[in-house]
């Protein structure tokens, strides 16, 4: 059985992260920007799991478990962030009737 090279996982993670970053930087719809950020979070999760698997080669099971636990906490933080962020969108929409970030320039310097 031929295994998958370690670099491939990292390359896939980098590609997903950059697609998400491009979306977050170029879109105007607030919800789509938020979705792009979720995509970036998930690509980082993939690279953490891949590094954990690489670390398990050196025989230290503990190091690879640390990686898995870290992904669990990233999931928890992402859930909290999504809840608060979407509530913010609802509050903004209630006041402004839009979530086009080009027109939400109240805090612009």
């Amino acid at each position: 059985m031929t295994g998958v090279p370690a670099t491939w996982y990292l390359l896939l993670s980098a590609a997903l992260f950059c697609i998400g970053a491009a979306g977050a930087l170029t879109r105007r719809n607030g919800i789509t920007i938020f979705l792009s950020i979720e995509l970036m979070l998930n690509s980082v999760n993939l690279s953490i799991v891949a590094y954990a698997r690489i670390a398990s080669a050196s025989g230290s099971l503990l190091a690879s478990l640390d990686g898995k636990v870290l992904v669990l906490f990233v999931l928890a933080v992402a859930a909290a962030e999504a809840a608060v962020g979407l509530a913010l969108f609802i509050a903004v929409y209630r006041n402004r009737r839009e979530i086009d970030i080009n027109r939400l320039n109240l805090m612009r310097w």
Partner: protein
């Protein structure tokens, strides 16, 4: 065999990620993000982390993305209207991202992980028991703090999304 499964889900994830950031209708974006996250869950299984894959499906596609869909339908966000050409900020953003991706690819292709194959899966690596033990002993404090964070997020979301009544006499 493993390579075939990896390539299948990697291509699926990449294609649906492109749809996420490029589609004008946010509902379609959420739907293709579901596809991306499910293929990432399949890759987690391939990497020997079945618990993370299950949580990915339950928490992400089951809870977070449903929340996204709910908010999109609540706010009635329609299709984005074309802005007529790309702005300066968009061009800069795309260039910066492309440059960052190029740098990462170069550093990966000349990095220390080149030529390393993933180590074979062992029973104790995939097993749940060591993971659960680590989570609830070494990381017990962080675990409790994650619970507190979620509680704080619930309260904050409720306060933020609440409709301010007339008794307060003002809107937020």
């Amino acid at each position: 065999m493993e390579i075939v499964v990896f390539l299948l889900f990697a291509l699926l994830a990449l294609a649906s990620a492109v749809v996420v950031v490029s589609h004008r209708n946010p509902v379609y974006s959420v739907m293709s993000l579901v596809v991306t996250l499910l293929s990432l869950a399949a890759l987690f299984v391939l990497l020997g982390a079945p618990l993370l894959a299950a949580l990915q499906v339950l928490v992400y596609t089951g809870a977070i993305l449903v929340l996204f869909l709910f908010v999109i339908m609540l706010l009635n966000v329609g299709r984005e209207t074309p802005s007529g050409g790309t702005g300066r900020g968009q061009k800069i953003g795309a260039l910066v991202t492309a440059a960052a991706f190029g740098l990462v690819v170069i550093s990966l292709l000349w990095g220390r992980f080149v030529g390393i194959e993933m180590p074979a899966l062992t029973v104790e690596y995939v097993a749940l028991k060591p993971l659960a033990r680590t989570l609830l002993s070494k990381y017990l404090l962080v675990f409790e703090m994650a619970g507190l964070l979620l509680l704080a997020a619930v309260i904050a979301a409720t306060v933020l999304a609440r409709k301010v009544g007339k008794s307060r006499g003002e809107t937020v």
